[in-house]
């Protein structure tokens, strides 16, 4: 038993472990600038779509007997699940998240055991990446091969931040934003961002390879997907025992998704149930049972937890063993509840707490 003074001392004692502020404000400013650009594009697009949509809405209202088309399982582009980016053998435990969006594979690595590097690594499919900012940069060596070092690259959008920093230099303290990139013989460009300085960055780059093909895994296998659900983003987060599958949207980077720039039309997320996860449903009896699983169906409410997902959004949460399946849709008219229910009915789960039991989601 301890007392409140000791609790205060403990909090003060550990607060000194707070990270330094280097780069935090600059990064926030970069996120803001990109979000603003994206919002202007989205607004213009929405206006254009609205102009074209009004006649359709009027037409639908005039035909109450409209019947939704029959649905069938959608083909999935399995290529999005394939990965070749990896760390050197024996270091896989340092890979805390990995996945693919569009033409980009990525992984996040953090110190583990004897592995001391921290950073983000990206592999751009052959022919999809313009390396001009690297080719004009300084040459360095990575495992005996020529690589290029650019001091103003961001891991999520190298060219984007390069422009940002040219036009809007950082306002506060200097920060390390360097990146190393090199072409693999296959034509894939590998980009490494991390560390506190060039030496740290190169140490991380030395441990990166394009290895034996692997793929994104998840604790759920989906036997059914609605028509029109095209996979655009897939990631496994070992560290947090979570997996994300996003469909039919723009293939955004993990950072963009985390910043909430655009919510995919359909997001299927699987998380390991913990006290934190269960606390959200605590006191709220399951509204329904799907395939024997306690389930909750949420529709939009301005003060609700999904308000950020938009006025037409919906969310279906399903507790299955030690997994919680979270299905979010931006427009319930596009992916209605019955379709989400069929996704759950066709799903099988492994052990969410044990990544070694996870397999391909399709």
């Amino acid at each position: 038993m301890t007392n409140v003074d000791e609790l205060r001392e403990t909090l003060e004692h550990y607060a000194v472990l707070a990270p330094d502020g280097n780069g935090v404000v600059e990064r926030a400013q970069a996120i803001h600038r990109r979000r603003r650009r994206r919002t202007s594009i989205a607004t213009a697009t929405a206006a254009a779509v609205l102009v074209g949509t009004v006649p359709v809405i009027v037409s639908r209202v005039g035909h109450p007997g409209h019947v939704a088309p029959a649905v069938s399982p959608a083909p999935v582009d399995g290529g999005l699940l394939k990965l070749t980016l990896d760390l050197m053998p024996g270091q896989s435990a340092a890979k805390v998240a990995y996945g693919r969006y569009g033409h980009t594979q990525y992984m996040s690595v953090r110190p583990h055991g004897t592995f001391t590097s921290s950073g983000e690594v990206y592999a751009e499919d052959p022919g999809t990446y313009d390396p001009k900012y690297f080719l004009a940069a300084d040459k360095v060596q990575v495992r005996g091969h020529i690589a290029y070092y650019n001091e103003f690259m961001a891991h999520d959008n190298p060219a984007g931040l390069h422009y940002d920093y040219l036009s809007n230099p950082p306002l506060l303290s200097p920060v390390f934003h360097g990146a190393v990139g090199w072409p693999d013989p296959s034509g894939t460009w590998i980009i490494v961002n991390g560390g506190k300085n060039l030496a740290d960055l190169l140490a991380l780059a030395e441990n990166v390879r394009l290895g034996v093909p692997s793929r994104v895994v998840a604790p759920v296998h989906l036997g059914y997907l609605p028509r029109g659900a095209q996979l655009t983003f897939a990631q496994t987060r070992n560290g947090e025992r979570e997996s994300d599958l996003a469909f039919s949207g723009e293939p955004l980077s993990p950072l963009a998704r985390a910043a909430g720039w655009v919510n995919p039309p359909l997001l299927i997320k699987t998380v390991n149930r913990t006290a934190d996860v269960d606390a959200h449903q605590k006191g709220t009896p399951p509204a329904l049972t799907i395939a024997g699983h306690d389930s909750w169906w949420y529709t939009y409410h301005p003060a609700g937890p999904f308000a950020f997902y938009g006025k037409d959004s919906g969310a279906l949460f399903v507790n299955a063993g030690n997994c919680q399946l979270q299905i979010l849709v931006a427009h319930v008219n596009k992916f209605p509840f019955d379709e989400l229910k069929r996704i759950v009915e066709g799903a099988t789960f492994t052990d969410c707490s044990d990544v070694s039991t996870w397999g391909p989601p399709f």
Partner: protein, 168 residues
């Protein structure tokens, strides 16, 4: 005050607060960074309130409590060995490390209440404003958290911290 002036002055405090919530330096940095990105476009309004720090701290708290917040990484667990500070007496250090570990098992809302009450020094009424709940709910969270932490209250601590706003 400009946003840059605010950030220069208060960023360390915000990061310390974020660290105590998340217990992870990387997540603390991500959390504060994401919130500041939302503060920037609203700075004209936020900078004009009486206490911009309190406003931003509330945003950080709510972002931390957002149950769909999906931060990417779980990184190096913090322990006493990671501290670059004068070592405490072994017995104190063990006690402190044990308390720190117990903080990790608290549900997020309880942890936020503990940090706001015992690190930031807010009254229960002020915490209730941050969390958007009643002061009685704050006391309930605090009571459960302290039981889990096995922290004994003194007589003074058992009195409502802010009874005038403790209407339930």
């Amino acid at each position: 005050m400009t946003f840059e002036e605010f950030a220069t002055a208060r960023l360390p405090a915000l990061l310390r607060y974020g660290l105590l919530l998340t217990r992870d330096p990387e997540q603390a940095r991500d959390l504060v960074q994401d919130v500041l990105a939302r503060v920037i476009p609203r700075w004209k309004r936020i900078g004009a309130v009486d206490e911009p720090y309190a406003y931003v701290r509330a945003m950080i708290t709510n972002e931390y409590l957002s149950w769909l917040r999906r931060r990417k990484l779980r990184t190096v667990p913090l322990n006493d060995e990671a501290l670059d500070v004068p070592a405490a007496e072994p017995a104190d250090r063990i006690e402190r490390a044990d308390l720190w570990r117990r903080l990790a098992v608290l549900p997020r809302k309880q942890r936020a209440v503990v940090v706001l009450r015992y690190y930031e020094g807010l009254t229960d009424g002020e915490i209730a404003d941050v969390l958007g709940c009643r002061a009685s709910t704050v006391r309930s969270h605090a009571s459960r958290a302290l039981a889990t932490l096995r922290v004994r209250l003194t007589n003074a601590e058992t009195q409502p911290v802010n009874s005038e706003s403790g209407v339930s």
